[in-house]
């Protein structure tokens, strides 16, 4: 059994972040990577979800540059992490309009 089972999933996620880790869940029943954190596997409906740490490596799935009244646009992406889940993020250090789908 997962020793952290009693804590709220969002709280465990936050603890991972605070120690510099991107945590995600893996369903012990069907093997699916689950994000965002929750108490039930959205694929098989199982309740045995273990926490893992992502490498942080992934591929840009979709991208947009958000424009505002003043200043440069900023970037928002959907990223497919190599462990098999997707999340929203942003790419830093690259002009917003130059982020490419398929980029890693």
């Amino acid at each position: 059994m997962n020793p952290e089972a009693g804590e709220p999933p969002a709280g465990i996620y936050r603890r991972h972040l605070e120690s510099g880790r991107l945590g995600f869940q893996r369903c012990a029943g069907c093997g699916a990577a689950v994000f965002y954190p929750r108490v039930i596997c959205p694929v098989c409906g199982g309740n045995d979800l273990a926490w893992e740490t992502s490498s942080g490596r992934g591929v840009v799935y979709a991208t947009t540059a958000v424009y505002r009244r003043e200043g440069d646009p900023y970037n928002v992406v959907l990223v497919d992490l190599e462990e098999g889940f997707r999340m929203m993020s942003c790419v830093e250090g690259v002009p917003a309009e130059e982020v490419e789908v398929g980029g890693g």
């Binding site: 991208t63 540059a65 928002v76 997707r86 993020s89 309009e97």
Partner: protein, 382 residues
Amino acid sequence: MSLRGKVVVVGVAESDLGEVGPGFTPLDLIGQATLRALEEAGLDKSEVDGLFSASAYYHMPTLSVGEYLGIRPRYSDATSMGGSSFVSHLLHAAAAIEAGLCEVALITYGSTQRSGGGRLVTGSEADPYEAPYNPRYPVSMYALAASRHMHEYGTTREQLAEVAVAARGWAKLNPRAFMREDLTVEDVLSSRMVSSPLSVRDCCLVTDGGGAAIVTSAERARDLKETPVYLLGAGEAHWHRNISQMPDLTVSAATESGTRAYAMAGVGPEDVNVAMLYDAFTINTVLFLEDLGFCEKGEGGAFVSGGRISPGGELAVNTSGGGLSYNHPGMYGLLLIVEAVRQLRGECGDRQVQNANIALVHGNGGVLSSQVTALLGAERAL
């Protein structure tokens, strides 16, 4: 037991539209539309016993509407899934009427978002896993979908712009459309970028507006004066709420809702004369043409090019001028129904589609989140 042909839309109406001015409430617009729809149907308010509504303003929409109008329904449905809610209400009203739980259903909506503050009133909560990145809701989510469609299928900004140009072409034929000036592909491409690749002209209007639709059994409709428009089929589907949870940004649940609606109606896309597709953004029209079987997946960009969905083209799409040029009052689904019914009755004047027998109404809600499809038909389509 099928719902096909069991209920009829006997009255439709718009409220005042566009910019109604300060001081009017969404309920005032609902009141306007209801008065007009009841008069068209030849029904008294006292006969309405089923109430259907959704709202970004009122937490318990059917209660607020019932109170304002002085209606005490025996069947009440406030299904809330964004702009598609009213197409869902059409399906639910049909089921309720067929089950004998109500006889005369009123579906209604109103929003004064433009006069109220000039911005979309949404009521949507921010997703905690997306909010840190500040996407602009909802346009950035649709922009992400457009970027993926462009990556996978080579869809271009020019092709998306064709959707806006086509909608404007229909709007020019609709005296009630909000924007009727000439619009070219170049105009769209050079308009202000909002969330790439979507510019201002790729996005729907932010207007005041409302509508009402009155639905009753086919039996009851025989006693009424309006040309009957039958519900042939309907279906709904939803797979996600937030864009980061959408399985494939190039395929929406319209694939399921459409299949369900076509099956109930016993027709296919080749039988549709008028397609009302929820165009909150230009990418929507491309996606729904694909997902509802009018063209292959990935071919939507080519399909909307060259005037195919413009007045005089092969397929009449969004003949009112759509959310892009006619009206988009936050939640737009009810106005799709109003236009479809009028096309099937032959009441659309300069924008009338010849031989309109079957209309498809497709509602979208959230961020490509909820999808509801309905097929309406004139009597000869039964």
